[in-house]
Amino acid sequence: MPLDAVTDTTTTAVRRILEVRDLKVRMGSQEILRGVSLDVREGSIVAVLGANGVGKTSLMRALSGIYRTTGGTTVFAGQDLTNSPSHAVVKLGLAQAPEGRQIFGTMTVRENLLLGGRVRSQDRAARMEAMLELFPRLRERLSQKAGSLSGGEQQMLCIARALMSKPRLLLLDEPSLGLAPMVVKQIFDLLVQIRSEGTSILLVEQNARAALRVADHAYVMEAGRVTLSGNAAELAADPRVQAAYLGG
């Protein structure tokens, strides 16, 4: 079964929440992203796989408006997001649980969640309640300093904080990093639940096995480019992916 092309032009009927075309990021003299194109269909989980240093995190930062791009376009829910500032991106409904979590360690769990919901303040209390339903561990820790949480709890807080803005697309950068396999499974199970509640997900992972288990579609990045893409089951069966990312 051949892998479909990077730019899928056949299914215009399916709505795409995110369309990235030929995105480039340059840092000094180094081109970190050399023209990345990918799509996220509404209501799907898309994984971006790849080894350390191939530009996955740079891609995520560029999408969230943290890095300036030097070429290409990003269209999110029909709006051109290319080089929009980070605060505008979040407001439009694209939130990220970033690499390294970037939670507010000296502030309480409640304050972290409130900050996450800051761009949409109408039904913030109700959304906080929904997050505490989704992550019951956080309820016990509401008035603790976020920095005192365990790694897994911090990751949950980081995801909950992003979801507080009620995003249409959630970006996740290495949610499994540094976590015990049990916790990783727990978090990935939650992703399926989050999608079922109407949030599309774009996920960057080194843990290809865990990512392919929940993803609908996946891309493989090497040296700042997408080199393979296809639906997750096909990619998981592809010998090249198996050799490089699934340990043979």
Binding site: M27, H87, V90, P98, Q102, M107, L114, R118, V119, A162
Partner: protein, 305 residues
């Protein structure tokens, strides 16, 4: 007994000086919190506050309570202007490497120093280098007897104003969305961007708030001492900086406590030493703190790049 009352009086004087240092130190600490950079022009904001207050008084002769809001507004404006001139131009580079770079931080440090020198020279040009007298109606030197001790009205006004401003600051930081944003940017600027905070706007707000406190300190001292000059911001600026460092750089309660400690120590020291030596007290306390508490007395090992 006589000695005790005298000492008590010195403590009260020291506290009022300490509160002035505290108002200044909070501005330093707030700005250092969001930017990780020392704002060397903070002393000039204090001076500007005093001069604007004096100009308002000589031109309009309003009641004292009306002077304060005008000085607050002037402080906020000068803070915003200062941020535009000396800080924002160096924030174009948002990638990690430049944000952590020492050179970038030192550039802003020097640009704030440059703005402070320019501001001082402009004030020298406009008002001359001499002390400007304060109209006697506005002087806050009338003694008030509280039991056996005599307190100048200036001390009381400083206490009251500081209490109100510290309370308002606490409310702002812990009870409002703006304050939540300021604390978030201080804690983790990258994290703040991920939750959709406009960090540039938060930084400008912080400058405005910090400079409001500094400018108010300036006019209060001007009316208390009865003299206003373009150089008046230097000494309290240095003292407030010392208080911030002693307090652990990013702790507002720490900065306030250390500012009060400095004020009281200086005031009591003038009992035993000639007043020319009082600065020695401040710097000795700084050295002792840095030797024995390198993180500051209230510091908690904030991460530095």
């Amino acid at each position: 007994m006589i000695f005790d009352i005298f000492l008590l009086q010195q403590v009260i004087n020291g506290l009022s000086i300490g509160f002035v240092y505290a108002l200044m130190a909070i501005g330093f600490t707030l700005i250092f919190g969001v930017l990780n950079v020392v704002n060397f022009a903070h002393g000039e904001v204090y001076t500007i506050g005093a001069f604007i207050g004096l100009m308002v008084i000589t031109a309009l002769a309003p009641p004292l309570v009306a002077v304060v809001p005008l000085v607050l507004a002037a402080g906020a404006l000068s803070g915003v202007g200062l941020e535009r001139l000396a800080f924002r131009p160096f924030r174009r580079f948002t990638d990690e490497a430049s944000q952590k770079s020492r050179a970038m931080r030192e550039a802003t440090l020097l640009s704030s120093l440059a703005v402070s020198i320019i501001a001082r020279e402009i004030m020298m040009h406009l008002f001359g280098g001499d002390m400007q007298g304060v109209p006697s109606d506005y002087l806050l030197q009338r003694p008030v007897a509280i039991g056996p001790i005599m307190v100048a009205t200036g001390s009381l006004v400083i206490f009251a104003t500081s209490a109100v401003m510290l309370g308002a600051l606490q409310f702002l930081l812990y009870r409002t969305q703006t304050g939540l944003g300021i604390r978030a940017v201080s804690n983790n600027q990258l994290g703040a961007r991920y939750v959709g905070i406009d960090t540039d706007r938060t930084i400008v707000t912080t400058f405005a708030v910090g400079s409001m406190l500094g400018a108010t300190a300036g006019i209060l001292v001007g009316l208390y001492d009865g003299a206003i000059s373009p150089h008046m911001g230097f000494a309290p600026g240095v003292k407030a900086f010392v208080a911030m460092v002693m307090g652990g750089l990013s702790s507002i309660p720490g900065a306030v406590a250390c500012a009060l400690l400095l004020g009281v120590s200086e005031s009591i020291a003038t009992e035993f030493l000639s007043s020319g030596w009082k600065d020695l007290i401040t710097y000795s306390l700084l050295v002792i703190t840095l030797v024995f508490f390198p993180q500051g007395i209230f510091g908690h090992g904030r991460e530095r790049a």
